[in-house]
């Protein structure tokens, strides 16, 4: 699986392993009941033989941490190119069990129900505070899973899913029903980063990193009432300021956000400043986040359609790059100049990257 992704990336760039300076890999291996996977996965398939290899594991943000560190490595001038690979094989372990082991053994593990328990609490608080209905959340799943039908790499293929299908699916953790939740997926994602000089040798149609932003918060997920993901507001304000973005809906052309549940997309499009508080549903109903809207959100089908954890947030950056390069096939948004990718994970952390068609700064 790792080999398949790496081979596709190298072939596309007309590169061979010998042309790669260094490798960054990412995987939340203990979610699969293993650890130190870099020892046996990082060398042959990655391909790290005789090369500098660094593994990054930051929970759900693993992919975005990888993506951001790839940018740091190139922007610092240390390497001329770098291969970045994230993966997960969740079929090999119970993700909920693995996720619980990532938390404090004494204080958090005993009652924690993996990621979905806290995500259900967040959805519940959000729904009550703003009077949002389950039907409103179901519309997110319908949008994203229908988008996924245009993405041959998406895991869950439900092109004809309806609001009723979502609302009649099994209750997983009130108010989350089965189809409000992301799947457990297997997948790998590989990206090649290069400096300006090296890029000319690879492609005449690259996507450029404009800026990145990271926000971490307290130790425990309940050290504050984080139902609206405060780190998304902090990280997005930082990156918009840095790049001179006044109105993300106008200034961005597409966003790939990390929505582990349908409710998360409603709430976090608000935290990312795409609309006011409590207006995530209105944003969707007005068609703004649809494929044909002013700011399409998750044309790939998003995390609701595929969640191979160590790859998931890197996929968000990759999909942003694909949109800029105009290589999205049936999921392509016309004329994308600027795209944002988001990672979410850890103790409710957010990581963002904004990519553009033009190598010059946004302003």
């Amino acid at each position: 699986m790792i080999y398949e992704a790496v081979k596709m990336a190298l072939d596309d760039a007309q590169m061979e392993p010998k042309d790669v300076d260094a490798i960054l890999i990412g995987n939340m291996d203990h979610f699969e009941g293993i650890n130190f996977s870099e020892m046996w996965c990082g060398i042959d398939a990655a391909p790290g033989y005789l090369k500098p290899v660094v593994k990054i594991a930051t929970g759900g943000t693993t992919g975005s941490s990888l993506g951001i560190c790839g940018y740091y490595n190139i922007a610092s001038g240390f390497y001329k190119n770098i291969l970045v690979v994230g993966w997960e094989k969740l079929n090999e372990g119970g993700a909920t069990t693995g996720i619980i082991t990532a938390f404090d053994p004494v204080w958090e593990r005993p009652s924690l129900a993996g990621a979905l328990g806290p995500l259900a609490l967040m959805a519940n608080i959000y729904a009550v505070k703003y009077g949002i209905s389950s039907e409103q959340a179901a519309k997110v799943t319908v949008k994203n899973r229908r988008n996924a039908a245009n993405n041959p790499f998406a895991h869950v293929q439900m092109p004809n899913i309806t609001i009723d299908d979502v609302m009649n699916s099994q209750m997983i953790s009130y108010p989350l029903r089965l189809h409000d939740c992301c799947p457990q997926s297997e997948g790998a994602c590989a990206l090649i980063y290069a400096n300006e000089e090296e890029t000319k040798k690879i492609t005449d149609n690259p996507a450029w990193f404009k800026g990145v932003s990271t926000a971490h918060y307290y130790t425990f997920g309940c050290d504050d009432l984080m139902f609206d993901l405060p780190t998304a507001a902090i990280a997005s304000k930082k990156i918009y300021k840095k790049l001179g973005i006044k109105d993300p809906v106008k200034d961005l052309d597409v966003a790939e956000i990390y929505e582990p549940t349908s409710w998360s997309e409603l709430s976090w499009t608000e935290s990312l400043g795409f609309c006011g508080r409590g207006e995530g549903g209105k944003l969707l109903d007005e068609g703004i986040t649809q494929m044909s809207g002013e700011l399409p959100v998750n044309p790939s089908g998003g995390v609701l359609s595929s969640n191979p954890i160590g790859a998931t947030a890197l996929v968000r950056f990759a999909e942003a790059a694909i949109q800029i390069m105009g290589r999205g096939g049936k999921r392509q948004i016309p004329d994308v100049e600027t795209a944002m990718g988001m990672g979410f994970g850890g103790s409710l952390w957010t990581e963002l990257a904004i990519l553009g068609k033009d190598p010059k700064p946004l302003r």
């Binding site: 069990t97 619980i100 593990r109 005993p110 129900a113 259900a120 009550v128 425990f220 309940c222 050290d223």
Partner: protein, 158 residues
Amino acid sequence: MGKKEKEFQIKWKTDLPYRYSIGKLAVKYFEELKNKKITGSKCPKCGKKYMPPRAVCADCFVEMTVEDMIELSPRGTLEGFTVVNYPFVDPNTGGMRPFPYGYGIFKLDGADTYMMHFVDETDHTKFKIGQRVEAVFKEKTEGDIYDIPYFRLIKEEE
């Protein structure tokens, strides 16, 4: 191809025993828990009251010691709830976590942080955000996180 390949599996079970060092504040917490008291720690600089107690205030980067520990009320206010209704292996026991179970986030009176724990209610229509909750102690406490097996929803007339 076309025919589904037969799945080949090797199954085994492994015990992975660990011992965790919980630190002086947590030791004190569990000693007090045995006396049916809930404690937290108060930052000597900003005064923020943490539950559970911890050794460093994230806001101030200041150390807290056992002397900075304070008693908190066993009662608090419910901020959010769910009923967990899916099966998974509990890594703390190695067995399946019994479900469904009520699960809430609440703020104990006197604390500045929130906590998440079991609630003895599995009908989501019985919960109300803003309602009062109370820690229920085991009759015979052992200085263990399960000394409070769950919180209960306090009825309005109480």
